[in-house]
């Protein structure tokens, strides 16, 4: 006797559909890795009147650390106990010394800048104790498949299948603006594949690669500091 599988049953169909959705969504999760270096395992003490500024590096030729990502990390770190100075507000207050051309790339240059009483005064007036530099980008690595959409008087639709891989790599460096030293480094790598299925209506199954990188980096940076 041949084994038979009843696919007509209402519950089997629902189960298959559910399995397909869960399977698709599971395929849309990003793999995120964080590497961290700090001289001590203890969190950095942050007084109530001390603040942090998160800045993006924008001096590379072929990419730019986007402001949206910087705002996202800053938002993650900000809480009742950690005060964050907005990026643009800090850069404007110290113009033109933190523009892509003039921003210090290393501690020796920062030390020289902080010898200027005007610059030091401005940093102190903003109560900025720590500066977090973030450098990196999100890039599309590989893409495949094709999808085409058409529209006419009778209606329209999209047909096909497309997929693409995204990789986010960001590095964060924490500088102490008072003692003018490096307090630690973090690196986040997040990778995932997104899909677009054209079945009359386009169905996107997007992997939040950048968002995952932001969440992971923001949470990890937050754990760097301990407020009273």
């Amino acid at each position: 006797m041949k084994p038979t599988i009843k696919l007509g049953s209402k519950y089997t169909l629902k189960g298959l559909l559910l399995g397909l959705i869960v399977g698709s969504l599971a395929g849309c999760s990003a793999t995120t890795t964080i590497d961290e270096y700090r001289p001590t395992g203890e969190a950095i003490d942050l007084n109530t009147n001390e603040k942090i500024v998160v800045l993006g590096r924008r001096d590379a030729g072929h990419y730019e650390t986007d402001r949206e990502f910087i705002n996202c990390v800053a938002k993650r770190m900000q809480g009742a106990d950690i005060g964050i100075v907005p990026e643009q507000q800090f850069i404007d207050s110290i113009y033109p010394w933190f523009e892509p051309r003039t921003a210090p790339k290393g501690l020796p240059r920062l030390k020289r800048l902080m010898q200027d009483p005007l610059i030091k005064g401005q940093v102190d007036s903003k109560a900025v104790r720590y500066l977090v530099w973030i450098d990196g980008s999100t890039e599309t690595l590989d893409q495949g498949g094709s999808i085409s959409c058409a529209i006419g008087p009778g209606g329209g639709g999209c047909f096909g299948f497309a997929q693409w891989d995204k990789l986010s790599v960001y590095e964060a460096i924490v500088w102490d603006m008072t003692n003018l030293q490096e307090m630690g480094r973090l690196r986040v790598d997040s990778e995932g594949t997104s899909y677009l299925i054209g079945a009359v209506a386009p169905i996107p199954l997007l992997t939040p690669v950048k968002s995952n990188a932001c969440t992971s980096l923001g949470n990890q940076l937050k754990s760097f500091f301990s407020a009273p």
């Binding site: 990419y63 730019e64 404007d92 113009y95 033109p96 010394w97 051309r101 003039t102 529209i151 008087p153």
Partner: protein
């Protein structure tokens, strides 16, 4: 019957308008006017007096880097450079022609734009919009003797974003390029060998020490 026909017409018209709006968003031409304010420079001015000549061609400058792009930077560059020169010299006067110079100042600076260039993701195969503004500063003594003709390039870029318009991206890149011009001026003006030599001659550096 009439109502159904009317409904269909409305739907088609709405679809056409939507399509037109989407296509206009994908337009390859851009016309940008920059009216931004710029932050005050944080610098101690040197004990030098200067007259800055912003002539009409400079203050109303409209760049056309290619046939599809127009960038009006005249007003913004006057604001930006006025701010930067105020941070460089402790006495500055801004005039619109050399005839208006009071004569009491030791330097006369006449800025001009040599060229504006842009590069879009379709040109550079990168996900960035780039703007270059190439300035020239004619630096003279109050007696009209040329000290130097200084070439001052400025650069700005902004990342391409999904569904973002080309105009917005070029505007953003132009603002960054203008800010870069201010940074370049503040960083390098007193490093120009001819200016350094002139200041040594005038014993300004010794005074400021």
């Amino acid at each position: 019957m009439l109502k159904t026909k009317l409904d269909k017409t409305v739907i088609r018209l709405s679809a056409a308008i939507l399509l037109l709006a989407i296509l206009s968003g994908c337009s390859s031409s851009a016309s940008v006017q920059i009216n931004n304010d710029f932050p005050t420079v944080l610098a101690e001015p040197q004990p030098v007096s200067a007259s800055i000549v912003f002539d009409k061609s400079f203050s109303t400058y409209i760049a056309e880097p290619n046939k599809n792009t127009v960038i009006d930077i005249g007003t913004a560059q006057v604001k930006l450079l006025s701010n930067a020169f105020t941070g460089l010299f402790n006495e500055v006067e801004f005039v619109t022609s050399t005839e208006e110079i009071s004569g009491a100042n030791s330097l006369v600076i006449i800025p001009s734009v040599r060229e504006v260039q842009i590069s879009t993701p379709s040109d550079n195969y990168l996900n960035v919009f780039e703007v270059w503004i190439k300035y020239n500063l004619e630096i003279q003594t109050s007696s009209g003797e040329t000290i130097d003709s200084w070439f001052m390039p400025a650069y700005g870029k902004t990342p391409d974003a999904f569904m973002a318009s080309k105009s917005n991206a070029i505007e953003e890149a132009s603002i960054i390029a203008l800010r870069d011009a201010g940074a370049k001026l503040m960083l390098d003006f007193y490093r120009i060998p001819a200016i350094y030599g002139w200041m040594m001659e005038q014993k300004i550096l010794e005074e400021s020490k």
